[in-house]
Point group: D2
Chain length 482, copies 4
Amino acid sequence: MILDDKFQDECGVFGIFNHEEASRLTYLGLYSLQHRGQESAGIVSSDGKEFYRARGMGQVADVFTGLTLENLKGKSAIGHVRYSTTGESIPSNVQPIVSECWRGPVTLAHNGNLVNALKLKKELERDGAIFQSTSDTEVILHLLARCPLSNRDEAIKEVLKQLRGAYSLLMLSSAALYAIRDRHGVRPLCLGQSEDGYVVASETCAFDLIGAEYIRDIKPGEILRIDKNGLTSFHMKPEVKPAHCVFEHVYFSRPDSLVFERSVNLMRRKMGIQLARETHVDADLVIPVPDSGVTAALGYAEESGTQFDFGLIRNHYVGRTFIEPKQSIRHFGVKVKLNPVKEILKGKRVVLIDDSIVRGTTSKKIVQMVRSAGASEIHFRVSSPPTVAPCMYGIDTPTSGELIASDKTIEEIRAFITADSLAYLSLEGLLDSVDGQGKFCSACFDKKYPISIKSVDEQGRLFEDNRNGRKSKASVINEIYK
Amino acid sequence: MILDDKFQDECGVFGIFNHEEASRLTYLGLYSLQHRGQESAGIVSSDGKEFYRARGMGQVADVFTGLTLENLKGKSAIGHVRYSTTGESIPSNVQPIVSECWRGPVTLAHNGNLVNALKLKKELERDGAIFQSTSDTEVILHLLARCPLSNRDEAIKEVLKQLRGAYSLLMLSSAALYAIRDRHGVRPLCLGQSEDGYVVASETCAFDLIGAEYIRDIKPGEILRIDKNGLTSFHMKPEVKPAHCVFEHVYFSRPDSLVFERSVNLMRRKMGIQLARETHVDADLVIPVPDSGVTAALGYAEESGTQFDFGLIRNHYVGRTFIEPKQSIRHFGVKVKLNPVKEILKGKRVVLIDDSIVRGTTSKKIVQMVRSAGASEIHFRVSSPPTVAPCMYGIDTPTSGELIASDKTIEEIRAFITADSLAYLSLEGLLDSVDGQGKFCSACFDKKYPISIKSVDEQGRLFEDNRNGRKSKASVINEIYK
Amino acid sequence: MILDDKFQDECGVFGIFNHEEASRLTYLGLYSLQHRGQESAGIVSSDGKEFYRARGMGQVADVFTGLTLENLKGKSAIGHVRYSTTGESIPSNVQPIVSECWRGPVTLAHNGNLVNALKLKKELERDGAIFQSTSDTEVILHLLARCPLSNRDEAIKEVLKQLRGAYSLLMLSSAALYAIRDRHGVRPLCLGQSEDGYVVASETCAFDLIGAEYIRDIKPGEILRIDKNGLTSFHMKPEVKPAHCVFEHVYFSRPDSLVFERSVNLMRRKMGIQLARETHVDADLVIPVPDSGVTAALGYAEESGTQFDFGLIRNHYVGRTFIEPKQSIRHFGVKVKLNPVKEILKGKRVVLIDDSIVRGTTSKKIVQMVRSAGASEIHFRVSSPPTVAPCMYGIDTPTSGELIASDKTIEEIRAFITADSLAYLSLEGLLDSVDGQGKFCSACFDKKYPISIKSVDEQGRLFEDNRNGRKSKASVINEIYK
Amino acid sequence: MILDDKFQDECGVFGIFNHEEASRLTYLGLYSLQHRGQESAGIVSSDGKEFYRARGMGQVADVFTGLTLENLKGKSAIGHVRYSTTGESIPSNVQPIVSECWRGPVTLAHNGNLVNALKLKKELERDGAIFQSTSDTEVILHLLARCPLSNRDEAIKEVLKQLRGAYSLLMLSSAALYAIRDRHGVRPLCLGQSEDGYVVASETCAFDLIGAEYIRDIKPGEILRIDKNGLTSFHMKPEVKPAHCVFEHVYFSRPDSLVFERSVNLMRRKMGIQLARETHVDADLVIPVPDSGVTAALGYAEESGTQFDFGLIRNHYVGRTFIEPKQSIRHFGVKVKLNPVKEILKGKRVVLIDDSIVRGTTSKKIVQMVRSAGASEIHFRVSSPPTVAPCMYGIDTPTSGELIASDKTIEEIRAFITADSLAYLSLEGLLDSVDGQGKFCSACFDKKYPISIKSVDEQGRLFEDNRNGRKSKASVINEIYK
């Protein structure tokens, strides 16, 4: 597998209520959200009586066929694409998850991360619960089943009080679709309309493809029930300051989406403009690391008056698996994806723009490759601040120790990646660019976690094991494939 | 799909403890038990710390590869093949089922049927449990998780007290393999030894292939714990009269197995001998309906002094799926499996032997086909009594209404299948043949259910819906495949 | 792979002309002929203008789906199943083979072996031909394309004059289906009728399944053209003595088929009767090696008055691939297929019946296994003479050196397989049983090859390389699979 | 399938001689050439004695596994990716094609199109040849087999004299790899070096990935033999004026490749600059149609001083198949691939840049979609001249009648695509940009076919059927898949 040295989004969700083509539009919605997770995909639909589920490992186009979509009957559906973090990427973890309890069947799709999931799980186990997967989502289903309140809305509110962390949730019962967002609104969730039906999605690009109209964001702390009576909204108390994930603007979201009610493309261009203001250097060319650095690079080039060109060409046919040569080929790992254009780079002073540096290993290879293609100077510019801390709210990040900026100075990083100069966008610059002072979570840049992770720390070692990076093991069950 | 008009076995189980090749021998064991269920197969192994699971729809040889077996690490394992009855045959129902609870992870493989499963499920749901499959087995895991006794052996005993029905259970924890059989010993379960390890299987033919030595049956009501200290045995109280499923001897088990400590082959031959004594008719040939009628037919031919021959040839390449012609072809459905040999049958008085008649539709086609191949007389003989009632203990039988013998006289059945004469083995004759007066369940022949199904009836309609035949719907969740 | 120590049939062919369901009936016909070849299958159909081909590695039920059959349009078709001998079993060799030449497109399915194929191939290559497969069939297509005669019937006759060996051929052009059999009639080929259409097949069991009526065999040396005018028959000159393959009766054909106008089942039973007359020994039981020895064993038991029983049970779920244990398990290789029933065999004097002994290795394992199951004496009886020479006419046999009877006396073979006694049916006894003195090829028993292989020997080493056993390499092209 | 309204490349070829990792590097080379053909891929390797072939439908990463590459033994190999034009895209057409003839085995991979292929095929058939595929390549193998010259080099020269059209050929025998290019050098072919071995590829990007050094192009009319003695070069007579395909620079080749010894990226940027000079219009934004219009758009923006932005975002997860909604969704077909960014486009005067307009249907949808995203003016600019005629030399183009520019004025095209203005780059401008007056084939722009297609026209209807667009039917054999 070719590993991108990037933070990885964990999931995208899509839901629809009261539409003749519920499962097909869910399929299309997930297709648009494919960049948010490529390891598995699932759809559950309902005709008001029965539920229908199809799911599998792989990309949306591989998991579903015309026939499976035909068999996903009914006028409501929810879907999920995932990358996998807290649970291993195994079939029993593929969402949406479905269960039956005394309230009847319910299905759930979840984007985010509960910081008290392990604590809740231990309590539930102590109370006799059994767990068949390793995902946070199963915890929520248990809480809901155990809540004695007969009114489902009240029960949901009660359950949500126990959850701590970031979550954008879709929950489908026989009669209603619930769209729920945690009080800080960490992960995005948008509401739209398609003919007589309502749609909910992680990003608005999913609405564009199916011709749905964007209405508004689900609000932080909002519980939106969509049923035959239309929209009914509840709000969790107390209200708190929003803490949107700024990295959605830096890297995760598609540039053609509105996220947190802002155009991702415009935000990224502004980051590039601000980056030029803060870190300008005389050069012949501005070269983006495609595709992540392209929009910021255009802004940088515009602001600095330096020529923009594609000096690195991306091979878009690269798949998830790749058979490597046995012999060592120079820069092979990065060249499978990126190839430098010698005729552009030769003898040029180059500003290389990327959105972030995580471990630094890939950046180093790119710098070396560009230099051996003939660039005379390489000035590396990053359109966000140094990433110094892991995300606790649903993004797959390496552990602190693996983050190069966690214990190295900028000069040390520069030396490591062998660039002639290196500069990052300031946190103020970033937040100004997204017009977001006081509204964003920037914990990965400043370690200021808006949702306390302390009580979990009190649980001791478990938290550290589970949340501190992708290599932790959340389960003793290993699913084996052919 | 080509439907056999037969009672269908529901599952086979295999377990092994303390063997270097635990998962490979489990694979081989399941291979030998393939006749007990061809719809799905699964193995869970354990290295004492972690558990490894592989499972899939289809036959054993298709579900597992050399690589999956390599990855099923550890020195203990349990496996399961199933045909599916109480739960739909969907992946989330493929056993062994695994869950984590406060006692740690545990995995379960189950052959049988709990008559109070729905009652228990309703009670558990009322108490906040969620269900992610439709199998009885999940109920047992919930009960175990909720049992507060800290000693696992005691907890198991406590849980078993709540189960009513037929079950041969294998339960694997990190430290021990439990082999458990209900108090009536309805379904078989045998203990064997292979080098330093112990093996447990539904039938002894699984021991033969792997070179294990048969020791004894797990006793009715026995809870056998196999761990590093060897064998420890507990017994449920009070003891009751055994009620072994006599149909295991009539049809289900492999003829080369010992079942209920008797040779299946010898039992079947004795049924044929007894059948000749009870129902002799002058004829030129004894012809079995292969493969089920072969051994009894040999006994019948020997006792009656009539010549035995294979006048019906079975095509052993018939798969589960088959593309049918659009036009009508005479006797097509049965001819895919069986072809008459005209040169043998022409002008002959034939005794046709089968083990049972269920709906009568296939028997009718066979009689018609044999007659149009030239037989001058066809005397149908059945090596068991008329099947008048469905099984409640783990066999997939049609509803009473579909059983031809439930409301038709023997003469009416004869007329329906268009035979010149028809006779069945008497119940006494059957039980004498297996040396089993007072030790067997023969409810499908005499409606005498040894385990009361009354309290379940008190639950009302649910029981009838769920237990009375294969077409009932146990779930509102429908899994969709490509 | 589990290797049967048997001679292997090489192919089965089926053709149909003027039937609405041409491709479906071809599928069903191949299904019935599956025992003649399980490695690949192919169908080519024609609507009188275009040709449609579907083919693949594996069994008939796996190669074709309902959709592929829908797309195999037209009212005529030919099909082929193969085991593979002269060509490696690779996709480019899967028949029917199709080509275009100046006469238009033509497709060919072939059962048999040309003894002068290499000689013809060399001549054709010298004349500028290119070969894209390693099958004999391509040679025939080249000869036909190069024949200048404009009348197709005349051209076919001309081409056939150049072929030496055994062949049952089906050739489909846009307008006609040709069924052709070599002058000795070595391999079988039968004609039948289905509604307004005609069908041709290797064995009559293919007619039974589709409800077609058997008319007669294609005669040795006959060229039968089936077109819109019905049947037109030509005959090759000069007529020669027939030389039907007697092994079709001994082992290959299905017992419910008519082959060479004789019932295979009756022939085999007569072999068993004759075997008892020639080789009787006092014993308690006659036990067949299933399935190949069953019919002869019934005859032996009847004639000798000894009791017949299934003391070896065959596992019919055995697939082509099988993951073996790492540790050594006693008799494992043969136990995967056959399991002895100790309760039957214990303390008994047993006559074991099989149809043939090829290398002797499997027979040895069976004898050992039966003995360790408790048999007190084991008398091995074979319902055909010792196989001393390879087949040159389309059967996959080991080289002479591998045939145990080629250089060992019967006593030496007995010692090798560790039986208490060993006896074979005499050649006279075999030919009497099939009522076939002077009509059969028995070269594998007596080295009297009815079609001279001399001129090929004159070609030197090439013949020996290619025809002398399955391990020879016919090509320098190796097809690689995933 | 989502149809791109683009000219389609037909194939890419890669060869290697004398390298330890021949098949792996061929795999990597094909990976880099994937943009030249995604429908099938094949590799044939040789160890000097035997040949090994692996091939399949689909992309390189799907066709080959680590195991297949292991089995493709030897130190020389050739590979091929194809889109398919003259032959249907069926497995029997997957290249490289292999055959045996009196010279021994030979394998061939071909990029281009022979204009006299049908004529040659008819002549060969008249002379007794049989054809098993529909590709031009089989014709070349026949000619080679029939050439009586014993010296292979001389035979190849003789065969090439008979070929008319465009071809870049790789031919591998046991002892040598031949790289051959037609006298006009229509399609590209480059020579490189990797350690002790030589490599040949359609584009230099294949060398970059494997770390090989580009040496030079194979010259028009050159026959380059690579064997253990190194390089030996022959040249066809007479020399003619080169006629490189200018569309390789406009669209087909990867921007990071050198093609015809020029940097594709630089050529495209110059086209954009020239386009601005010729067709400047006042606007707020230059927006490329990604990915084909990006480089030219950068040049246009630079030259015109207009701001460049990505107002259309491409979804790179789009696969070959896609399940469409049943209801009509506005702009759906194009929106699956491209999504407009309203926040960028709203109220703006936009210059839309694409490399070509073929049928005009996609361009129309893009213009409409951009307008409904809020653009106030849309000026469409094309970085090549109007495409008025089909390619005869190996590019898959629609028939003349389908080319919108073949019978419409620019104003009519503008009206059709609903742009506010439309302008194309002039042919002079294009040829100046690539520094290629007198060296390029521009027949698709000016109908001046450098290789006469007249003699083929004399053959009558056949030529028109076969060469005039992708829908023609080259064969009466239809391969059917599951």
